[in-house]
Symmetry: C2
Subunit: 226 residues, 2 copies
Amino acid sequence: MSVVQMVKIVGLGAVALTLSVEWLDWLFCRLWPRKISRGPLKEVFFFPTEVACTERLFTPDSPFPCPCPLPHNVNTSFTRLLSHILSASSSLDLCVFAFTNLDLSRAVLALHTRGIPIRILTDMDYTLITGSQIGAIRRAGICVRCDSGAVHMHHKFAVVDSRRLITGSLNWTLTAIQSNKENILVTEEPDLVLPFITEFKRLWDVNDPARRHLPSIAEKTASLVL
Amino acid sequence: MSVVQMVKIVGLGAVALTLSVEWLDWLFCRLWPRKISRGPLKEVFFFPTEVACTERLFTPDSPFPCPCPLPHNVNTSFTRLLSHILSASSSLDLCVFAFTNLDLSRAVLALHTRGIPIRILTDMDYTLITGSQIGAIRRAGICVRCDSGAVHMHHKFAVVDSRRLITGSLNWTLTAIQSNKENILVTEEPDLVLPFITEFKRLWDVNDPARRHLPSIAEKTASLVL
């Protein structure tokens, strides 16, 4: 077989393969329009969630089964949320109105122990509520900034590894998780994640305590004149 | 030129075209990774928003300019949110914790006047707050169901025409829109929209007042026995 013939056969084969793949893709989409997940990660969870043991998420290598009376090895909205937080390998940026949940606090502290950079932005008034975890998190050495404006910093979102967005109606409290009707949306769709990264950076800079207390040039000039 | 030669040329041409399109696609993605929007609608808005006149959204065909002192023809997070609500052409399903905003109430009433089916699910306790629009909406004849559980129905999402999801931290209140730090995410991504449609249907059915007060077969049997 000559080289020219081989090139022609390979060319026609490539066309046939391309057309077959396109046709199969079209066929699958028609047959199972919703079952095939496409593109970046997209998940939705609803709450309240069934109460289940979360120990295996924190100590996956432990040879001993957890002795607690809660159901084990159960996948719930909350275990999925915890898994997404614990999956962080390079950073966690959290912007949350109320933070009292012990498991989520443990997850944040576990990431800190692993050396993962964490930034937490929260509402100043809500750091004072009963059970707030912000004090414990600060004492562990995690960088926390508070929005002390007269209105609420009402966001409830997190960005994991600068690419996975977790957002919704859910505050990081026990009531929200176990009682309220709430939702959480998790996505790696860049068009959705990037605006949240930009907004986090903006709010983080705005709430820099050093910047807030630095007198402006105008203030300095005024004080010199006076 | 023989038929065989023509088939070969067409085949090779198809391969070249496919590879060129793939290569150009890759090149565009590398050069403008974020500028090219792909797939279904995806938008994110942050609040608080600049205050602007919304009259043109309600009366787009009016020949008279609005005389109010607010800025006109300004695109803000709130005008974008209102536009999405007012774009409904076949249905609006709204699941919201607190609803006091007059412009959003006007948008819902305008859709109702146009004959668009609307279902609103809200938290019973929060229908009693100052400025709640639920009474006015009910009096207009719109179907409203209330979650009267001991805990919060804390969702803040809407589904427009069973295909566009609006969700986030934002309650439909003036404080949320003009003062708080909040977010709204709008998408037509089926993997994200469909779970919300299913959850709305579930909550709508659970909170059917007729169903809630109907005695179960067990209750009926017990009352007969007693």
